[in-house]
């Protein structure tokens, strides 16, 4: 007897088979008109030199086969790159109406956000809190991570209107990028002068239920004139983290509406002439802190993150096979800059890094490439207020020397990538991180098998605040990843990957007693999990849907990260995450862009406000139920005049209210994010038509 399920299954199979056969027959009748003409065989020499080996790619194929170098230095397609990679395009950012980088990155499998202290929101990847030095954020090659704690700060911060593309490695990148890329790399590439080719102005206004969320304006100008190219872009704005009420562990409350400033100021200049290029970035992220480090202060105080980056690079192509690239960088930062006030003691430490890098790329044959190089940097940090470092000095200096090597062999059967980076630091010793990757794309299928070691360099304050006299050492991580990809049709792709992350002696932040914190290498941490993604790009628009799952499987020995009674999950981050993002073209001008984020239950510590409880004021473990965030954005391109686009949408339609949970058992209660937000955007690209 056939069960109803089997019957339904076979019936479905029959329908599908019928439809597909009909489609196949239709396809077989299609022809390529241009190429069937006799003239096609009489192309001239110049035309023959441009003949392609494959049919015209679909939009999806152009995207997934585009060359990126974030994972290998040597450009490879995303499907053959030796990392698990996500590509986000300017078009996707614009269509989605993303308010800031948090909105963009949340749609990436495995990426999430939590709160650190003093209103700062940081990043997590694959269930691991990666805020301090575990995910490297690059903007046009400049390392945004601040040097005192190696953190990055999210929320109405980085300019997203100027982004051309984001390449995200959801795995280790230390073998290329060193000590801040232990768990991942976010490589943001902004529009070049040629991309802007004129002037671009964009404005965003966002209103939450009970107050302004953001009002930002971004301006960019750029052009390419023969070999010379320039771009200058700026962002200035005001914003608020939330319009909700924050409660600290003592039960004190603070209304964040209008008082949780997140004000970005950013200038980005790029100049290039032939192989010589200069990049300068100024970034000042001005925040006001009403939540405090642990207890809510009597009055909110200001806290700024000021950075300046400069890079001079020359790409010297000696011949077709050899390219030498010398590069010098200067980075100057005053992160967590806090003036003395009644609420808080001053914090004013200057951190500077000067680095020199020389790399060589040698194409031994068409299919064998070698990249090698050396890098040296000098870190200096100076206390600019009354404070001093733990050794009593006002200034500390470290030197770091490193060498790296990468070999790439492209073979018909498999591509092999191997490499290693060695770092030796005058303060915390050395680290050697090898990696090996096997990748291959065969017609519709691709696979990647990757083994990488990576490390996290202790940052200046990690060294300064070491718990033990032995000091702090780099933490070491081993990651194994396996990815399979299958192109279901020429316009859709399905990928799935599994990973195992194992970190030995992680640098853990401890709160020791009252007002004392410290860092120590402790035990073992890590996660393993699975991530899948489905992408389709059609004439009517596109859909991206993904699912991410992680488990700690009891392997995390760090009590600060653990959820008591649940060895599979870590604090703050849900085990399951599902994202759905689509863009549907209503006509030539209008598109409707829904996105949905599902987060399964998560855990964090909350305030015990029960006055009858003996534990009043002592943080309590709390289970936060699953949440679904639904966003909708309507975009209109070339409205009234060419280049003018406008959009309106609502983020968090059902007002679930984002909550950033502290991913370690620290001093901070969950921090509210935005409530339902109405977002309006306007953009005008005044572009001069390129002459053909």
């Amino acid at each position: 007897m056939i069960s109803p399920f089997r019957f339904k299954f076979f019936f479905a199979l029959l329908i599908v088979w019928g439809i597909q056969n009909a489609k196949a027959q239709q396809d077989s009748t299609r022809s390529k008109p241009g190429k069937d003409s006799i003239d096609y065989y009489d192309l001239n020499l110049e035309q023959l030199m441009k003949i392609k080996g494959h049919d015209l790619p679909t939009e999806l194929e152009s995207l997934i086969n585009s060359l990126i170098s974030v994972a290998s230095k040597k450009p490879l397609s995303t499907r053959e790159s030796p990392s698990i990679v996500t590509l986000v395009t300017a078009e996707e950012i614009k269509n989605s109406g993303a308010r800031d980088l948090v909105d963009v990155l949340r749609l990436v499998p495995g990426i999430d956000f939590g709160v650190d202290v003093e209103g700062v929101v940081g990043i997590a990847i694959r269930g691991n809190w990666a805020h301090e030095g575990k995910v490297l954020l690059l903007i046009d090659g400049q390392e945004m991570n601040e040097m005192l704690y190696a953190s990055t700060q999210f929320g109405n911060h980085y300019p997203i209107d100027q982004i051309k593309r984001i390449e995200i490695i959801r795995g280790p990148g230390s073998a290329i990028y060193g000590g801040y890329a232990e768990y991942g790399v976010i490589n943001i590439i902004t529009q070049s002068g040629a991309d802007i080719n004129g002037i671009s102005v964009a404005g965003t206004y966002g209103a939450m239920k009970d107050g302004m969320a953001r009002q930002n304006i971004s301006i960019a100008a750029g052009k390419k004139i023969n070999d010379f190219e320039f771009s200058i872009a700026g962002l200035v704005g005001q914003g608020n983290r939330s319009d909700q009420v924050y409660s600290d562990f003592t039960g004190r409350t603070f209304n964040m509406a209008g008082s949780s400033s997140l004000n970005p100021n950013n200038v980005n200049i790029g100049l290039s002439w032939k192989g010589l290029s200069f990049r300068g970035i100024y970034d000042s992220y001005q925040t006001s802190v009403g939540d405090g480090y642990d207890k809510i202060p009597p009055k909110p105080y200001s806290q700024d993150f000021n950075s300046m980056f400069a890079e001079l690079k020359y790409v010297w192509q000696i011949n077709k096979k050899i390219t030498i690239t010398p590069r010098v960088n200067y980075k100057r930062q005053q992160p967590w800059l806090t003036p003395q006030s009644d609420s808080v003691a001053a914090f004013n430490i200057l951190a500077e890094r000067i680095s020199a890098n020389l790399s060589l790329s040698y194409n031994i044959t068409r299919n064998i490439n070698l990249v090698t190089g050396v890098e040296v940097f000098h870190d200096a940090s100076t206390e600019l207020d009354t404070g001093h470092f733990v050794d009593g000095s006002k200034m500390v200096n470290y030197m770091n020397y490193s060498g790296f090597l990468q070999g790439l062999v492209k073979h018909r059967i498999v591509n092999v990538i191997f490499g290693a980076r060695y770092d030796k630091n005058s303060q915390y010793g050395d680290a050697l991180v090898p990696r090996v990757g096997l990748t291959k794309k065969i017609n519709r299928t691709n696979f990647k098998l990757l083994y990488s070691q990576s490390f996290r360099s202790p940052a200046i304050e990690n060294i300064n605040q070491a718990l033990t006299p032995q000091g702090i050492r780099p933490e070491r991580t081993e990651v194994i990843e396996l990815e399979g990809g299958y192109q279901l049709t020429r316009k859709s792709l399905f990928t799935i990957n599994i990973y195992n992350i194992s970190t030995l002696n992680p640098i853990v932040y401890y709160v020791v007693g009252l007002n004392t914190d410290a860092y120590v290498n402790f035990g073992h941490s890590g996660t393993r999990g699975i991530e899948t993604e489905y992408r389709t790009r059609q004439r009517w628009g596109y859909i991206t849907a993904n699912y991410a799952f992680y488990t700690a499987q009891g392997s995390t020995e760090v009590p600060n990260y653990q959820v008591p009674g649940n060895s599979n999950q870590l604090l703050a981050f849900p085990s399951h995450k599902i994202n759905f993002n689509a863009s549907i073209n209503l006509n030539k001008h209008f598109s409707i862009n829904p996105s949905v984020l599902f987060r399964s239950a998560s855990y964090g510590y909350v305030t015990n406000t029960n006055p009858d409880s003996a534990a009043l004021g002592i943080p309590l473990l709390h289970k936060f139920e699953a949440q679904v965030f639904v966003n909708l954005f309507l975009n209109c391109n070339n409205i009234f005049v060419k280049g003018l686009s406008a959009g309106i949408g609502v983020y968090d339609i059902f007002d679930q209210q984002t909550l950033f949970i502290e991913p370690y058992n620290g001093p901070h209660a969950p921090l509210p994010g935005t409530s339902r937000e109405l977002v309006v955007r306007l953009r005008y690209d005044l572009t001069k038509e390129k002459k053909e």
Partner: protein, 180 residues
């Protein structure tokens, strides 16, 4: 009776339909190799390469060893174009042993392993061996196709092998290919 809850079954069914609808069981393809481009280059090989006088009479025999979608394109080529005024005749071979004398022998990707045997068999006869798969010019073919990273189609040229077969390749064609 199955123990799977009903909603799981329905979810499985839905997923199956979704994936099927996207072509999992279809002859859906990746970005296709453009064999028309391959045939275009073959035509240019015929056009520019010089065979000895002893081979300049009668039909131009284009041999194909193995099976490949390129055959359809080569047949179209033979039907529409001439080889320096001569009719192009396609001759198909299933195995290296079957191969008989022809002007140009196209070795399909599936028969790449026979290159060495073919080379021994053909020796210095005036035949141009064209390999469909990358790298065959290093293993004894006269020319072999290669797709570069920017998807531009090129061909490797084994000049000494060409000369060994008493053929001449002009500078025009060398400019188009990559000497190994």
């Amino acid at each position: 009776m199955s123990r799977k809850p009903k909603h799981i079954k329905n979810a499985l069914l839905f997923t199956f339909l979704l994936l099927s609808g996207q072509g999992l069981f279809n002859r859906a393809r990746a970005q296709d190799v453009d064999y028309k481009s391959y045939s275009l280059f073959v035509y240019n090989f015929i056009k520019y390469i010089e065979w000895p006088d002893s081979k300049s009479q009668g039909d131009f025999v284009l041999g194909v060893l193995g099976d490949s979608p390129v055959i359809r394109e080569l047949e179209k080529l033979a039907a529409t174009k001439k080889a320096k005024g001569r009719t192009i005749v396609i001759k198909r071979f299933s195995t290296a042993e079957e191969v008989t004398e022809c002007h140009l022998l196209y070795v399909t990707a599936g028969k790449s392993g026979t290159i060495k045997a073919l080379r021994d068999k053909i020796k210095n006869k005036p035949m141009l061996i064209v390999g469909e798969r990358e790298g065959l010019a290093r293993k004894g073919a006269s020319l072999s196709f290669v797709t570069l990273e920017d998807d531009v189609l090129k061909f490797d040229i084994n000049k000494s092998e060409i000369e060994l077969h008493n053929l001449k390749i002009p500078g025009t064609l060398i400019l188009l290919g990559l000497l190994i």
